[in-house]
Amino acid sequence: MTQPYLVLSGIRKSFGAIEVLKGIDLEIGTGEFVCFLGPSGCGKTTLLRAIAGLDRQTSGRLWQAGREISTLPPSARDFGIVFQSYALFPNLTVFENIAYGLVNRRLAKAEIKARVDELARLVHLEPHIAKYPAQLSGGQQQRVALARALALSPGLLLLDEPLSALDAQVRGHLRAEIRSIQRRLGVTTIMVTHDQEEALTMADRIVLMNDGRIEQVGSPREVYGRPATPFTAAFIGQMNVLSGIWADGCARVGAETLVAAEVPDGLGDRADVTVCIRPEDIGLTANGAAGVAATIAGLEFCGSFLRLHAAAPSLREAPIVVDLAPERANGLALGPGMECRLHLPGDRLRLYPGTARP
């Protein structure tokens, strides 16, 4: 990222007494695909609307392509937007929808037609150009919305939960398509989503938000593999979250002592510590003396893996979740009530100071 395309500085937004954005600082590079990810109510859509100028921030400043846009109305900013509802004009054909912004530019008819045809080709809609939105499927409507947003070749493309109204199969297909169009055009893109899988598969960088603040910014790999906070750890993917005490360079969780390869700064002796480990990182053996003694409480078949809930009284009350690849599980003859041993490798343990929020 040589020179940031979009810079947000100290963005705050209040609706009455409720503060929805509590100071957001962020830089986004030219051509980047960034996902705002977070639980509902975390402020991600509000932030997107502030960038578009639709809901102006209460305080804070924004720069786009070196130009300050903090107080500009939406019509003076440079962006294209796609909403969850698509917001297609139902009384206009696909052609007229895509051409909507072009017509206002007073371009020659032939020029408009050439441009719309080009865009329709880009999103594979040529055969449907004369239809009305009501005659299209959800996925096709979404493509029209995308083409319309790209028609004026904006420098910034904003996508507000664009895929959440679609069924799973169409969604998967469109993910790949949006990403390939974005790469081809090189347009800087921000997508708001609450779907972590969508963010992990599409984004160059994920901006994980919670309660009006940014929790972590990083590539999907970083955010998944090295969550910076217990919130990130618990929000992305499955996570076992254990509470313990820091003593003698080890985490004491229940009756067990866990040694982590990596230890965060600032852990004092006898301090509270939160220990996280992903279900697929836990090893399981049928017998032996090493590891934590546990009893299998239940099994779930999840297609590509087997998820089991193991009661480990020496660790904590609630069952520990363990994911096993089917070939591993097949050799073990697992069943409810079976005694086993859990192995928590030190290089997979993530430690955070303090007690995790419930």
């Binding site: 939406p74 019509s75 909403f83 917001a87 009384n91 909507y100 206002n104 939105p133 947003a149 070749s153």
Partner: protein
């Protein structure tokens, strides 16, 4: 697929604007809309309050007018008269309307379409019409005069009967809505538990529609207590508030006392308005999105009983309309019953002749055209505009006000406000313009709520999309929002037009020498003893109102079928 080079993408130039002109225009337009509503609704009503505290010469009188009013037994008696007559009319109307609504929604009786048409026919009649029909049926030379066993139709009996006819469709529509919004699964659950029908009715049906019943009763009571037409024609010497206002203002030129009576009349109207709004809100919340709509099973005994009951009610309603229609075609009631159009030769019976009908059509067309545009633009600015939020909220509240104001009160409000010599709009008095403005204000609320509902159903992101495409919002309004709202605009137009034709209560105070309208002519001719021509004029109003409704229905059909092909899947 061809690549789109960045070169072409950058070729489209982007104009930049530093000042947000659009926002400025929206703010100015919203201010203008608020000012218009201020002048046509708020200030006239304020004038009624002011006038009530003034002596006849315009000096401040404190509570003197009120003490004079409540100290006058003849005037004060009208309060009690109005209350019990309206109360009785409410009980009867809601009872009959409940039976009818139950038949329409919860049984499988035959002929529902026809019954429903007859049931809502009173909406298209001026309220003088049922009163005139009552005179023909039970008056001194009435067809079935003996049925009253010596009692006179002029007075409480005629009032209650006329009001029931006039209010019936209003109560019916509210109850039909309430009964339609029932969850089938509640009934299935009750039946599965072996509950007897009487207990299901008591524990499921009644609780489900109690807000509808309250709303219907409140609306009926307000309509009944504020109605002018019925009281004017068959009230006789039985004084009620509505006729008192008229007598004070028009008869005795006592504006201050008229204002006091107007304020008294405003109390039940505002109370019932508040009750209705609360009931509506509760009713809507009662039905969850996942409920299954009730569909009645056939039951021959029940269906027959309701067909007979609803059929009887419909026959009575049809007779009321038919009596005036027939009487207007009779040569000289009751002496020469041969058919003739002599009653329709209005020039013989009233100085203005047919011109009052043309005036009514000009008023209707004018109010519909002006009203539809004003209502839609203001509702658009409130719902989709970028004007100041507080101002838009204020407009929302003011738009609800006319619903709580009886036509009579709005009429005297206009007299008080526009007749002041200091008012720059004073020149409008006596002209068609003031009648049009008053009618728009009178029927503003329902039209506004209709437009608001339609606008709320439109995707809220259209404006955002159009801003991102740098298309000015007014273009998107004209190109997308208006076409989407076309059916709504047509129905607002029809509503304004038909109501402008049938209403008399406000106009009776405001018409000038050249602008007498048909509904006022009905009252004038009836007053002069020309009951036949009054019935004929009332029928002309009905025919015009029916024509307006048919034309707007036809337009809507055309729009849905031909012009808006995109509505079809």
């Amino acid at each position: 697929m061809t690549e789109i080079p960045m070169g072409t993408l950058g070729a489209i130039e982007r104009p930049r604007r530093a000042v947000d002109v659009e926002r400025l225009v929206h703010t100015l337009a919203t201010v203008a809309g608020a000012l218009i509503l201020l002048v046509i609704i708020v200030l006239p009503l304020a004038a009624v309050f002011v006038k009530a505290f003034q002596a006849r010469d315009g000096s401040f009188a404190g509570l003197a007018n009120f003490t004079a009013y409540f100290g006058n037994p003849a005037l004060f008696r009208s309060v009690w008269n109005s209350v019990w007559v309206a109360g009785l009319a409410t009980v009867i109307t809601v009872g009959l309307a409940f039976v009818f609504a139950y038949g329409l929604t919860r049984t499988r009786m035959r002929g529902k379409t026809l019954l429903q048409l007859v049931a809502i026919s009173p909406l298209l009649t001026p309220s003088m019409l049922p009163a005139i029909s009552l005179v023909y049926l039970f008056g001194n030379q009435g067809v079935i005069k003996d049925w009253l066993m010596g009692q006179s139709i002029y007075g409480p009996i005629g009032l209650v009967a006329g009001l029931v006819y006039y209010c019936f469709p209003h109560a019916l529509m509210i109850l039909v809505t309430a009964l339609t919004l029932a969850d089938q699964r509640l009934y299935e659950a009750a039946e599965a538990l072996g509950t007897r029908p009487a207990r299901i009715f008591r524990t499921v049906t009644l609780p489900g529609i109690r807000f509808g019943l309250i709303g219907a009763a409140a609306v009926t009571f307000t309509l009944a207590i504020t109605d002018f037409g019925v009281a004017k024609v068959v009230g006789g010497r039985f004084n009620v508030l509505a006729t008192d206002v008229y007598k004070q203002v028009v008869g005795q030129n006592n504006f201050s006392m008229g204002a006091v009576v107007g304020l008294v009349l405003l109390i039940p109207a505002i109370l019932s308005f508040a009750v209705t709004r609360a009931a509506e809100r509760r009713q809507r919340a009662a039905l969850t999105a996942r409920a299954v709509l009730f569909a009645p099973q056939p039951a021959s005994f029940r269906d027959t009983v309701f067909l007979v009951a609803c059929g009887l009610i419909a026959v009575v309603l049809a007779v009321m309309l038919g009596m005036s229609a027939y009487a207007s075609l009779v040569k000289l009631w009751p002496y020469d019953l041969s058919l003739s159009l002599i009653s329709y030769d209005f020039a013989e019976h009233d100085a203005d002749g047919w011109s009052s009908v043309w005036n009514s059509l000009i008023l209707g067309g004018g109010a519909a055209a002006v009203g539809t545009v004003l209502v839609f633009v203001v509702a658009y600015l409130v719902e989709k505009g970028q004007g100041p939020r507080g101002l838009r909220e204020a407009i929302r509240v003011v738009a609800l006000l006319p619903m709580a104001v009886p036509g009579l009160v709005l009429g005297i409000a206009y007299v008080f406000f526009f007749n002041q010599p200091a008012n720059p709009l004073n020149g409008l008095v006596g002209g068609m313009a003031i009648l049009i403005i008053n009618t728009v204000a009178h029927f503003y609320t329902v039209a506004h709520l209709t437009a608001q509902t339609a606008l709320k159903q439109i995707d809220g992101e259209f404006e955002a999309v159009s801003a991102s495409l740098r298309v000015p919002q007014y273009k998107t309004m004209l190109r997308v929002t208006v076409p989407l709202c076309l059916p709504t605009l047509i129905s607002i137009f029809g509503y304004m037009f038909a109501n402008a034709l049938t209403t008399a209560s406000a106009l009776i105070f405001l018409y000038g020498p050249d602008t007498k309208v048909a509904s006022v002519a009905v009252i004038a001719m009836d007053d002069a003893g020309n009951v036949g021509p009054a019935a004929a004029m009332a029928m002309v109003i009905v025919y015009c109102a029916v024509a307006v409704r048919l034309i707007t229905a036809g337009l809507n059909h055309l729009v849905a079928g031909r012009l808006q092909r995109w509505r079809q899947r």
